[in-house]
């Protein structure tokens, strides 16, 4: 098992950390915290407290230190933690009220809330600025069911192979293809006005 993924740098660092090398954990955080942050942002939208969630992800890494076994690439293992946490977070948010993602985009191109009460995104009518398009796309993705959203984000924005997405989501490759197909179908419908207008400002 270990030999299958022994060349993966993340696995090597995690095993070193498990063996007592604290510096290896520092390197893991430096190397993967950006990806975790990006994944959480795409999955949850630009809600406040994402850095705390990144911290929570790595806290789980610390807690899993003794029982860690390299049965997959490190990123696969890590993304599984991220996905589980993001789903929990989504459920907590939906218990608190409507998922709110349509705050105005900040200077970093993020931000915002959308009240998801319709499968169709309210698209900007007048000028299609880039930020508006980005916001509309993120809204449409945020409105997808959890599994479809995760599969699409991992495939499209993180270049994760289907086999790994299947491992992350605890599903089969066939199911992942189906999820992504459905997600794209939904997005094509939701973003139809933008697609008809050309979409790219």
């Amino acid at each position: 098992m270990a030999s299958d993924y022994g060349r993966d740098e993340g696995v090597q660092l995690m095993l070193a950390y498990q063996a007592g090398d604290e510096g290896a954990f520092d390197r893991l955080v430096e190397q993967y915290s950006g990806q975790v942050y990006a994944l959480l942002t795409r999955f949850l939208g630009s809600r406040p407290g994402r850095e705390d969630l990144v911290q929570e992800v790595f806290l789980r890494v610390i807690r899993a230190r003794d029982r860690y076994q390299p049965t997959a690439r490190f990123s696969t293992w890590l993304y599984r933690i991220v996905f589980n946490m993001a789903v929990n977070e989504t459920q907590r948010s939906s218990n608190r009220g409507a998922l709110s993602l349509d705050q105005p985009l900040g200077a970093d191109g993020e931000g915002g809330t959308i009240e998801i009460h319709d499968s169709r995104v309210e698209l900007p009518s007048a000028s299609l600025e880039r930020d508006d398009v980005v916001r509309a796309v993120r809204q449409a993705i945020a409105a997808l069911p959890d599994q479809q959203r995760a599969a699409l984000i991992l495939a499209k924005y993180h270049d994760t192979p289907y086999a790994e997405i299947a491992e992350i989501l605890g599903s089969s490759e066939k199911a992942i293809k189906s999820l992504i197909h459905r997600a794209r179908e939904t997005l094509r419908q939701t973003l139809a006005p933008l697609l008809q207008q050309g979409g790219t400002p």
């Binding site: 007592g20 604290e22 954990f25 520092d26 955080v29 430096e30 915290s33 950006g34 942050y37 990006a38 942002t41 795409r42 850095e51 705390d52 990144v54 911290q55 790595f58 806290l59 610390i62 230190r65 970093d108 191109g109 993020e110 880039r130 398009v133 980005v134 796309v137 993120r138 599994q147 499209k156 924005y157 605890g170 599903s171 089969s172 066939k174 199911a175 189906s178 999820l179 459905r182 794209r184 997005l187 094509r188 973003l191 933008l194 697609l195 979409g199 790219t200 400002p201």
Partner: protein
């Protein structure tokens, strides 16, 4: 139109099951059946889906001719690597026409156009999704995360090293104890203790008498063990005579013997 919550839940489960996703355990038991008992529409839907699954399972795996497949993959790869623009779409369209022509098989009317439309829609969606170029990660995120985890890491490190530390300390103590015991001078072993027996100048006569009796008894037991019982009884006197000195008449007078001839070793 409102949908019954039971139907909604059932259909959500059904959709998950059809997608091959993990289905809640209760799905296998009552909730399905309870709802189906009272809902004809969902029962019918399930039957249709099951029939469709059976039908789909009987279909052979669709296979493209190898050459067509190669050219289609080449065409699609080329198209997706291009910027989505009219030129690339046109290029893809031409490629598709070429390969459909080359396939030589009868092509259903309108297939090319439908494929082109689908391809165009996919490419357009990809282009739209790619407008969202990336998430800007806050600078110094890693360091802040590490700082936030310092307390937990410290606590875990202490816990992690507590047991080995105690074990090491115990080992050191045991070793020290062993060394101290081992390094004591083995004086007694070097010079074995001599057994000192106080010698009496004149042995106590009563003690000597007892020792004699014990000795006689031992001789008797040894003899008894070495001969047959009947033989032993007959030879008793002979043995006694052998072990007595000629001057022990006094002792002989106390022994009840039947054969006086054998008793007198002096034989006179």
């Amino acid at each position: 139109m409102t949908i019954d919550p039971g139907c909604h839940e059932f259909r959500a489960h059904l959709a998950r099951a059809l997608e091959g996703l993990p289905v809640p355990a209760e799905l296998q038991t009552l909730s399905w059946h309870e709802h189906l008992l009272g809902c004809g529409a969902c029962r019918e839907l399930l039957e249709q889906e099951e029939a469709l699954e059976v039908l789909l399972a009987t279909l052979p795996e669709p296979k493209l001719p190898p050459e067509l497949k190669r050219r289609l993959v080449a065409c699609l790869t080329h198209a997706s690597s291009e910027e989505v623009a009219a030129t690339s779409l046109a290029s893809a369209d031409r490629g598709l026409d070429d390969l459909l022509d080359a396939a030589g098989a009868p092509v259903p009317a309108g297939l090319g156009e439908r494929v082109r439309r689908g391809l165009r829609a996919e490419l357009a969606l990809d282009a739209l999704l790619e407008v969202d170029t990336g998430v800007e990660v806050p600078s110094d995120l890693g360091r802040r995360v590490l700082r936030g985890l310092e307390a937990e890491r410290g606590q875990r490190a202490r816990r992690r090293f507590a047991l080995p530390t105690y074990a090491a300390a115990a080992a050191v103590l045991l070793m020290a104890l062993g060394v101290s015991l081992w390094s004591e001078p083995p004086a007694e072993e070097a010079q074995p203790r001599a057994v000192v027996v106080a010698e009496a100048e004149d042995p106590d006569p009563s003690m000597l008498a007892v020792l004699d009796l014990i000795e006689d008894d031992r001789l008797w037991r040894d003899y008894e063990a070495s001969v047959e019982p009947a033989e032993a009884e007959g030879d008793l006197h002979l043995l006694l005579c052998d072990s007595l000195e000629p001057g022990d008449e006094l002792l002989l007078s106390f022994i009840d013997v039947d054969d006086s001839e054998t008793v007198n070793p002096a034989g006179g």
